[in-house]
């Protein structure tokens, strides 16, 4: 009996030693809104509109920040997507942690649209190792309809989970229509 107690004592000590906490953050701190591009197609015979997620040959995305002195928006120096080829048909956009709206200039080939996301933000404390992240809740989304026809909010909460938050629909014919002078 004493032997077993003694063995248990030793094991318990080493088990305790192995439970020293890791001081590195293992949680994801990557909070970005995911927007998917969807092409709408009207089937002439059935009159049913179908949607397909599609990529682009070239996309450029840049944030637009409000200048509080002039009241005008100017482009953020850093470019999120710089003439990138978009295979998967979705982009990740960081929302402004210190404002209630985030504005982006989207350039697809030669066409330009401005996407505005109105949102709330919340400070979300994770742990001592990970610190704090800022999550968001989307209120509304507006877009200048130069090539994007409509916007749909799929999931309002923008957090560290990689889910599609909004869908941007465009018509293939509208998008490929040649620019007329």
């Amino acid at each position: 009996m004493k032997k077993y107690i003694f063995i248990l004592f030793i094991v318990s000590l080493f088990f305790n030693a192995s439970c020293v906490t890791d001081e590195t953050c293992i949680q994801s701190k990557y909070v970005k809104l995911t927007a998917g591009f969807y092409q709408t197609t009207l089937n002439d015979s059935t009159k049913i509109i179908s949607t397909t997620q599609t990529g682009f040959d070239s996309i450029t995305v840049q944030g637009m920040k409000l200048d509080t002195l002039t009241g005008a928006y100017h482009l953020v120096d850093s470019i999120l997507y710089n003439n990138n080829k978009l295979k998967l048909g979705s982009i990740n956009l960081p929302l402004n942690n210190f404002a209630f709206q985030s504005k982006f200039k989207l350039t697809l080939n030669t066409k330009v649209d401005t996407l505005t996301i109105y949102h709330q933000h919340f400070n979300d404390y994770l742990s001592l190792e990970c610190g704090c992240i800022v999550t968001h809740s989307i209120d509304t989304v507006t877009v200048t309809k130069h090539f994007i026809d409509s916007v749909q909010i799929r999931i309002h909460d923008v957090n560290a989970l990689n889910v599609e938050n909004i869908r941007l629909y465009y018509n293939y014919l509208t998008f490929h229509k040649p620019i007329s002078n």
Partner: protein, 248 residues
């Protein structure tokens, strides 16, 4: 690595103490408790492990605790433990966490040791039991940076909250009478928070009495205690009877 070495050396030293106590025990003439009586006195004990470990393993946390344990029929041991613990830690991202607070635990231990026929009377115990622990404590989190992102700018936040946390513990341990009425023993504890959710804006890194807040935790206690006998006369009579029986 250095911490593990220190831990192993301290563990071996503790083992040495335990083995010495067993050796000493053989030389003792135990005063048997009366298992027919409900009240067999009480033991007041102090935890040595929390004092030693907090200073040897790291200086980020500390804990001091003691308790009182009643002996009912030498089978049931209602226990009340009280202590004070705290933490002062700075994370790799320079986030500071500071807390100091008291904690209490209440519970009962059961003696698992069965008395064999013709065995020598002993007060040594092999116990298993349960505890409910509670702590109302204040903590401060400082220098929590709201991260810089694409848009620029950053913000530093400080949190100060006073939560109350309740947890339960499953305890297994041993107590040995090393000298007359002096006990040494150890116990291991599996600690579980009853509710791991926090109502405030942040969450504590360390909970006094519970330890580092991971939802579940392990604890180790090494106690030194003294047993008080309010019924000394009865015991003396028992001892006299035993000696008489031995002589006969």
């Amino acid at each position: 690595m250095r911490r593990i070495f220190v831990y192993i050396i301290s563990s071996l030293l503790l083992c040495l103490v335990v083995s010495t106590t067993y050796a000493q025990k053989k030389k003792q003439i135990a005063i048997p408790t009366d298992s027919t009586r409900w009240m067999n006195g009480f033991t007041v004990h102090l935890d040595v492990a929390s004092l030693v470990m907090s200073s040897m393993l790291n200086n980020e946390t500390y804990s001091t605790e003691g308790g009182i344990q009643l002996d009912l029929k030498h089978k049931f041991f209602p226990t009340f433990e009280i202590g004070v613990a705290g933490a002062n830690k700075v994370s790799t991202d320079n986030i500071g966490y500071k807390t100091n607070g008291m904690f209490e635990r209440i519970g009962v231990d059961f003696n698992l040791r069965k008395k064999k026929k013709d065995s020598k009377p002993t007060n040594n115990l092999f116990t298993a039991g349960l505890r409910i622990g509670m702590s109302n404590f204040k903590y401060n989190l400082t220098n929590v940076v709201i991260p810089y992102n694409y848009w620029g700018g950053s913000e530093i936040k400080n949190y100060s909250e006073t939560p109350t946390k309740i947890w339960y513990e499953i305890v297994v341990g041993v107590q040995v009478e090393v000298l007359k009425n002096f006990y040494m023993g150890w116990s291991i504890r599996d600690k579980n928070l009853i509710s791991s959710e926090f109502s405030g804006e942040s969450a504590p890194w360390f909970i006094p009495g519970f330890g580092i807040n991971n939802g579940t935790n392990w604890g180790f206690n090494y106690t030194i205690g003294y047993h008080f006998w309010p019924q000394k006369k009865v015991l003396k009579n028992n001892k006299t009877l035993l000696i008489q029986q031995k002589n006969n």
